[in-house]
Symmetry: C2
Amino acid sequence: MNTVAGERETPIYAAIAHPARRRLLDLLAEGDRSVKALAAPFAMSRPAVSQHLKILLDAGLVSERRAGRERLYRLRAERLREVQVWLSRYERFWHDHLAKLGRYLEEEP
Amino acid sequence: MNTVAGERETPIYAAIAHPARRRLLDLLAEGDRSVKALAAPFAMSRPAVSQHLKILLDAGLVSERRAGRERLYRLRAERLREVQVWLSRYERFWHDHLAKLGRYLEEEP
DNA sequence: TTGACTGGTAAGTCATAGCTTACGTATCAT
DNA sequence: ATGATACGTAAGCTATGACTTACCAGTCAA
């Protein structure tokens, strides 16, 4: 059993694994929002939403600034690019018809 | 506190949240592999890899077929498209940044 | 048939994710 | 100054994710 080298973990994939956090990002894509505004559509408590926001914050997917007694969260979508880059290695599987044909020929010798 | 409607959860995001499972997909992108071959690069036990494979299987990201005493796993990359579609809503954020950067560089030679 | 492989699954442990309520702090309005 | 608002965080609970070892069944080779 050999070890996989350079296994440094990105918190981004775990951050977007939860549907509530993806929804939060979706809301923030429309513009900066306060915690209250972000929590409104959810059935869960506001502290729960705060905890989700912290996870997004730690992953660098959002930033926060204070405005009076509110805290406004802002989307940092650039961090999602890492995921897109990883996904791009698989694009050929649904874009490239030749690849499909190649795989078909492989399974039918 | 209103409820978010239609909160149907996809197992795909959770499936790709674990680095070992992303690595397994990466390995399978090179071609079909037996469990033994897939487990080789990992420090964890083979049953652990089997359990990861089951999660990928349940998410529809891989399929399995039997060949003698081996089980060959095959990538089903099309299922990743769902993630790419979600990500595409954020592409403009870094495309905008790049466009701005490009214009800035043109103005300041 | 016997023994070596391949690989799934059960059982058990440990850590942590995800929620709740309770509380503290800063800000604003009156 | 007082009370209401916005929010973070601590504490505690439960469920589950991620591993391990032990065991089982199926396949192949001698």
